[in-house]
Amino acid sequence: MIKKLFKNKNLNLIIGTVIVAIMVLFMLVGIFAIPYESTDISASLKFAPMSLEHPFGCDNFGRDILSRVMEGTIATFKVALGTVIIGTFFGIIIGGVTGYFGGIIDEVLMRVIDAVFAFPSILLALLFISILGSGTYQVTIALGIAFVPSFSRIVRAEFLKAKNMDYVRMARLMGASNIRIMFVHILPNIYPVLISSIMIGFNNAVLAEASMSYLGIGVQPPEPSLGRMLSEAQTYIFKVPNYALFPGIAVILLILGFSLLGDALGEK
């Protein structure tokens, strides 16, 4: 029975969907029915153990960890979503133009992209943050820019492949404009590749956001964020392991869910 289940290739899809659904539900509860105000400080609840009132316990300021993990997950999700939107938008435009038209624009833009690509994304994000200053919006923009090169490379490769295909030639013969061919004809055809690289990009963004806020750049206190919670929890890791455990699990589930989903969608 178990063997049969493992052989099923859709297992990734099922588990991935379930995990993503759980995380989305978790965030929805955080938006509409958050149990406590995540910034409420209470001296009597300092390091309160896990209980029915506080399922994940309380932190060093007596704040409810469950509520903070909920809001932190939402914050991370927002940044990751923004990053992916920025990266995909510019990635499609740059990759589409360079791949479809080729020529001198392609040469110049790809050299620039290569130069930007030489930076590991964390380093590039740190570079932008040292210029823009730290904060949620700055981190989103910085990570978004950091993901443009990899997206545009993928899009460019797909456009290169597609532009000589029969359906594109037909569309050209019928008098469709370049813009129309690019966005109405080619784009829908390459979306399976895009979806899986968007998922990978999303995961990298979650990871990068968590790392950034762990370093103290990004979401500013007292607003909760998963990375910052982990860095605060590190001091008390032996005394109060649940403080570090739950934000950590939230990050892992978020990444795991989307990477399983990405794998499953990419296999088709």
Binding site: A115, A118, P120, I131, N203, L215, I252, L256
Partner: protein, 314 residues
């Protein structure tokens, strides 16, 4: 040889582009260097004198060339907040970060390659399935979180090292390596999982080729086919990935250094970012970017030697 030369030229062009980009970004957006160096209370005359002295009124390209020339001779400017030369601040930290990256790279190779080959060899075996599932989960753990878990497990439960008690490589090299093993492990973990997955897929894809059937038909055992024929080809995509890993590890150390309080490049980079100490930030970013480009070029060259098919027209 021509191939190596070509790669070298491409690398130098990219280095120039990258450094110019960094220089421009800091020069245009980071405000007036004269005010940053002399403070906001400096008189306009002193600011103007400083500008002429440092050549801040010259065109950007001239300034860039001067800065680049100084950089090559080891003069990376003066830190705003510590009033020290940047090169003396960071020269001792570079080995720390580099050793950490190299250690995690070695850990990755030692662990990932045998596991990858094993799982491909025993595809769909019980152990293969278990490893694949564990792999998928470990892949989702951010390095800084696995760092925290490693501190908890090895530092506080097994007491194999004292968390936060960094041993300098100048005092006790053995102790330094012993301490650095754990941050290196934290950096290596997610890469190990990716390398295992990639190697497994690559071997399984390679096995489907015709030459494998030919090798079998000549009477080779499956071990001979795997080690003598398949692996050579299956390693090709993995090498590119390994090169990317090394560069990622250099960058990833910035974060993991914080978890284990290792005073490497990442530590100064972060304090300098929050102090707005631009000369330091600029120097570290340029150094890391150049290291990354160098590794990329070496991988390309290595690739050309291993796979002669690439050399002629690329």
């Amino acid at each position: 040889m021509k191939y190596v030369l070509k790669k070298l030229v491409t690398m130098i062009i990219t280095v120039v582009l990258v450094t110019f980009f960094v220089f421009l970004a800091f020069n245009l957006i980071s405000g007036d260097p004269a005010t940053s160096a002399l403070g906001t209370e400096a008189t306009p005359e002193r600011l103007a004198a400083y500008r002429t002295q440092m050549g801040l009124d010259d065109p950007v390209v001239v300034q860039y060339l001067r800065w680049g020339g100084n950089f090559l001779t080891g003069d990376m400017g003066t830190s705003y907040s510590y009033r020290m030369s940047v090169s003396s601040m960071i020269s001792e930290k570079i080995p720390v970060t580099l050793i950490m990256a190299v250690m995690s790279f070695l850990i990755m190779i030692v662990v990932a390659i045998p596991i990858g080959i094993y799982t491909a060899e025993h595809k769909d075996g019980v152990l293969d399935r278990i490893i694949t599932v564990i792999n998928q989960v470990v892949m989702a753990i951010p390095p800084f979180f696995s760092g925290i878990l490693i501190t908890l497990l090895f530092g506080q439960i097994f007491k194999l090292f004292t968390p936060g008690k960094y041993i300098s490589y100048q005092d006790d090299f053995g102790g330094f390596l012993g301490y650095m093993f754990f941050p290196a492990l934290a950096i290596a973990l997610p890469k190990i999982t990716m390398a295992v997955k990639l190697l497994r897929t690559s071997v399984l894809k390679e096995v489907k080729n015709d030459y494998v059937r030919t090798a079998y038909s000549k009477g080779n055992s499956s071990r001979q086919v795997l080690y003598g024929h398949v692996l050579k080809n299956a390693f090709l995509p993995v090498i590119t990935f390994l090169g990317m890993c090394l560069t990622d590890m250099i960058a990833g150390s910035i974060i993991v250094e914080q978890v284990f309080s290792v005073p490497g490049l990442g530590r100064i980079l972060l304090t300098s970012i929050s102090n707005r100490d631009y000369p330091v930030v600029m120097a570290i970013i340029v150094i890391i970017a150049c290291l990354v480009l160098l590794v990329n070029m070496l991988v390309d060259v290595l690739y050309g030697f291993i796979d002669p098919r690439i050399t002629p027209d690329d």
